[in-house]
Each structure stands twice: as structure tokens, then as C-alpha cells.
């Protein structure tokens, strides 16, 4: 059953995609839709190839901001969660502010950040980080506090030091929660970067994919808009696959979520 199952899992969605693309192309051509309104897949592919120098440069910028925001979110969120777990006072004092930071839409803060931070890259990074870090913080905080009660007693029975309890019990217990946070935050880093680019609207050298979409829309270069959009989607898919693979690798044999059920 394994190979046929695999085939279905890949074949069905790919098949649907191909059918949609063909229908799309046929509709655009059949009804003579203007490429300004809706370009067909072939026109988009053409734009992708023709504008590749421009788009690849923009892709690199977006990737850099997304990647850096993601790394900062993982490290920052994880460390702040550990800090919270060490002191209830720190957690009680700071957590509400972390929530306020999270519930305030980043679009609303972005213009301020751009005024405050001279370096545009840095401003974009700050925006993306703000969006991405909270899921890691909140998930890891829950995880660090959710270790099994009997295991905690076990550690107390053997007089474990707070450091031992943190490293050998609470951190491993928090791993599945942390990794869920990482998966969510991977996608959000990209969202944050794109939103920040839209708001910043910087032109010229060193602007990312989102800005290219904006620019193309002013110039009615609809195929290029689609091409940039495609690259953003692909980036998102790549992030999803990468974070899922890492999570699978770490949880591997011990966690239910990473286990294949044998039938």
C-alpha cells in the first residue's frame, strides 16, 4: 500500500494543479483576457525568465530579511521563554507586554519603526521579527511549564539542581511546543517581511519582492506581479518543508506527532 499511497499523495494535488493551469491558460486565450488584468501561466513564466535579474535580486533581499528575522525570532523567543521560566516574577511582569506587542498589528507599527530606524533593512528586520517571535515565545513558555508532575517529583527526589531540572527535564519537555512555534514563526517571518516591505515602499537598489509587486502594479506589469507572487509562495513552501523536516528529525522516535502509525 505504501507506494500507491505515496503516488496518490503527490499525484492528486499535482494533477489538480496541472488541470487548473491548463484551464487558466485556455480561459485567458479563449476569452482574450488582457494580460493587464489576468495573464496566463505562460505569460507569467515568460515574465519570470525575462525579469529574472531583477526578481532574483529582490528574492535574495526578501530571503535575507525573512531568514534573519526567523533566526532572531527562534533565538530570542527561546531565550526569553527560558528567562520567563526561571523567574515567575519576570514572566508576570513582562508577559502582558509581549502580548501587547503581539496583538498590535505590525502594519500599524511599521511606519514608526521606519522613522526611528535609519537603516531600512534593519527596520524591515525589526518588523518581521516582531511578527515572528511571539509564537515561539508563547509556545515555549507553555512547554517549559508543562513537564510531567511525576517526573518533576522524580527530579526532586534525586535532589536535582534547578539547572539540571531545566536542561534535562523542562527543555526536552518543551521541545514539541517550541518546534510548533518554530513552524508557525517560519511562515510569519515571511509574512512580516512582506508586510514591512509594502509599508516601507523603498525603491531602487536593495528592495524585496513585495516592493517589486507594488512597483509592477503601478506600471501595470501584471505578469511580473504574478511572477513575484509565485516566488513568495515558493519561499513559503520551502520554509514550511524545511521547518517540518527539522521538527520531524528532532522529535523522531519519541513524540506522537512525529510517529508513523503502522497498520
Amino acid at each position: 500500500m505504501n507506494t500507491s499511497y505515496r503516488w496518490r499523495q503527490i499525484g492528486l494535488p499535482v494533477g489538480l494543479g496541472v488541470v487548473c493551469l491548463v484551464l487558466w491558460e485556455a480561459t485567458v486565450r479563449g476569452f482574450g483576457v488582457s494580460p493587464f488584468i489576468l495573464p496566463g501561466p505562460t505569460a507569467i513564466a515568460e515574465a519570470l525568465i525575462k525579469d529574472w535579474p531583477l526578481l532574483s535580486e529582490a528574492l535574495l533581499v526578501t530571503l535575507q530579511i525573512t531568514g534573519m528575522a526567523f533566526v532572531c525570532a527562534v533565538v530570542g523567543g527561546g531565550l526569553i521563554a527560558i528567562l520567563f521560566s526561571l523567574s515567575k516574577t519576570v514572566e508576570t511582569t513582562l508577559f502582558p507586554y509581549a502580548v501587547i506587542m503581539q496583538v498590535t498589528p505590525v502594519v500599524a507599527i511599521a511606519p514608526l519603526l521606519i522613522i526611528w530606524i535609519d537603516n531600512v533593512r534593519l527596520a524591515l528586520l525589526a518588523c518581521a521579527w516582531l511578527v515572528a517571535f511571539f509564537p515561539i515565545l508563547s509556545n515555549t513558555t507553555v512547554g517549559l511549564n508543562s513537564s510531567d508532575h511525576n517526573l518533576r517529583d522524580m527530579f526532586r527526589l534525586y535532589r536535582a539542581t534547578p539547572r539540571q531540572t531545566l536542561l534535562k527535564l523542562r527543555v526536552p519537555s518543551a521541545m514539541p511546543y517550541f518546534l510548533t512555534g518554530v513552524r508557525i514563526s517560519g511562515g510569519l517571518s515571511l509574512t512580516g517581511a512582506v508586510v514591512a516591505e509594502f509599508v516601507a515602499g523603498t525603491s531602487g537598489q536593495g528592495s524585496g519582492l513585495a516592493y517589486r509587486i507594488l512597483e509592477s502594479s503601478y506600471q501595470l506589469q501584471t505578469p511580473r506581479m504574478f511572477a513575484a507572487l509565485l516566488l513568495i509562495s515558493l519561499t513559503g513552501v520551502l520554509i514550511f518543508l524545511a521547518t517540518s523536516a527539522v521538527s520531524q528529525r528532532i522529535l523522531g522516535r519519541w513524540h506522537e506527532s512525529a510517529m508513523d502509525l503502522e497498520k
Binding site: 511525576n150 517526573l151 522524580m154 527526589l157 522516535r253
Partner: protein, 248 residues
């Protein structure tokens, strides 16, 4: 009677929510003895065990005896294994926390696993083991430090009868080989009589000792004992003591 290894004197425990789990309880444990605490649920027998382990501080009374880290092993009702660690790493935990060198720790843990019949399962994760095997790992972990006292909190309650019988026998064999002091909490009359030299019957609300039965037999514990008339007589005695405790 030799000096007690652990002595509880006038122990009371009232939790913050106002429940009195244990009231004015005295209990002496002779070194090397196998004692069962038998009682209905809510009679505070688990609390007594936790007080002995030092996991719960009594509100009143005194606990004396040798209770240093590593001198006490505890087997919980659930296997309570770390799911992210292999069987071997789980058994190594108490040794690791005590800072034992790695090679020595591995050897000791492997030996402990061997003793509970799990040789060859060192690298298995808890998820891959059956309920009985997980309990064995838990038992091996409790015995890894070679404790003087082994506390067991209804360890086999969730297992099927066949597995339970087997684990009962294995526990007895380990006790006979090592002669640690065992305190076994259970609500099964048959299990308590089968395993122990002494059954302390507890009554509920508030938890206290209502009866203290010596289980004396010339028979070796095993299938022969389990089917003997002496066993059923003792069980009847323990049963009526339990009924009396429940009527209190």
C-alpha cells in the same frame, strides 16, 4: 525488633484546600522488610509514601531515618519515563543527577535493566515498549542507585492480571536478592498478602492506621503460595480488616 529504618511519629498532613489526608499516623519500618499499605482510595496511603520520600512535608509530626538522595527509590503509578530518552538513558537519570561518570553510569544502568529482564531493550524508546515493559524500566530506574528503601505507589494497578502476576514475582525476587526495605501501596488485598510480610490497613477521612497484620508463612512465595489455603485464610483476614477500616 531492630531499629526502624524510617520512623513516622504523629504524622498529620492537611493540604491547602483544607483536606486532611493523614491524621496522627505512626509507622515504623524495619530494615529489609516488605510492608504493604492497604486501603480504600482517599485514605492517604500515597501521601504517606510521599512523606517518607520527602516529596511532601507533613503539617505535624516527625519523620526520622536515612533518607538521603539516592537512598530512596520511587516507583509511581504510571511508568513516568522521559519520552525523549531511551530505556537506558531513563534508568541512568538518578545516576546522572548524582554526577556519576558516564561509563560507570552506563554499566550500572545496563545491569539494572538486565535485572528486570530487559536486556537488549537499552536503546528502545518508551513509546516502543509495552505497559509492563515500561513499568520494568521504571523499576530498574528506582533500583539503579541501589537504594535502601523502595517506595511503590500502586505500580501495577494499570496492568493486566497476567503481567501483574509476573511483575509481582519479579519484584519479590529482586527484594529477596537485595533486601531493600519495600513499602508497597495498593488497594488489592490479594496483591498485598501475596507480596508482603506485613500489611498495614488504613482507614479514610482522615487517613490513619486501622490495622496491622503480620503475614507469616512457611511457604515460598510463588504459585504454590498463591493457591494455598494459608494464602486464602490470610486474604480473608486482610479482607475483613479492610472492611472494618471502610466501615470506620
Amino acid at each position: 525488633m531492630p531499629d526502624a529504618i524510617v520512623r513516622l511519629q504523629g504524622i498529620s498532613k492537611t493540604f491547602n484546600n483544607g483536606t486532611t489526608a493523614v491524621s496522627k499516623l505512626d509507622l515504623d519500618l524495619a530494615p529489609g522488610s516488605f510492608v504493604s499499605l492497604l486501603g480504600p482510595s482517599g485514605c492517604g496511603k500515597s501521601t504517606v509514601l510521599r512523606i517518607i520520600a520527602g516529596l511532601v512535608e507533613p503539617s505535624e509530626g516527625a519523620v526520622s531515618g536515612r533518607r538521603d538522595a539516592g537512598r530512596i527509590g520511587f516507583v509511581f503509578q504510571e511508568p513516568t519515563l522521559m519520552p525523549w530518552a531511551t530505556a537506558l538513558a531513563n534508568v541512568m537519570l538518578p545516576l546522572d543527577l548524582a554526577g556519576m561518570p558516564k561509563a560507570q553510569m552506563r554499566a550500572r544502568a545496563a545491569e539494572a535493566l538486565d535485572q528486570v529482564g530487559l536486556k537488549g531493550f537499552e536503546d528502545a524508546y518508551p513509546r516502543e515498549l509495552s505497559g509492563g515493559m515500561k513499568m520494568r524500566v521504571s523499576l530498574a530506574r528506582a533500583l539503579a542507585t541501589d537504594p535502601d528503601i523502595l517506595l511503590l505507589d500502586e505500580p501495577f494497578a494499570a496492568l493486566d492480571e497476567i503481567t501483574r502476576f509476573k511483575l509481582n514475582n519479579d519484584l519479590l525476587a529482586l527484594w529477596q536478592a537485595k533486601r531493600f526495605t519495600a513499602v508497597f501501596v495498593t488497594h488489592s488485598v490479594f496483591e498485598s498478602v501475596y507480596l508482603s510480610e506485613r500489611v498495614v490497613v488504613m482507614a479514610a477521612r482522615p487517613g490513619r492506621v486501622s490495622d496491622d497484620l503480620a503475614i507469616q508463612t512457611d511457604l515460598a512465595r510463588g504459585a504454590e503460595f498463591r493457591t494455598s489455603t494459608a494464602y486464602s485464610t490470610l486474604c480473608r483476614k486482610a479482607s475483613s480488616a479492610l472492611e472494618k477500616a471502610m466501615a470506620l
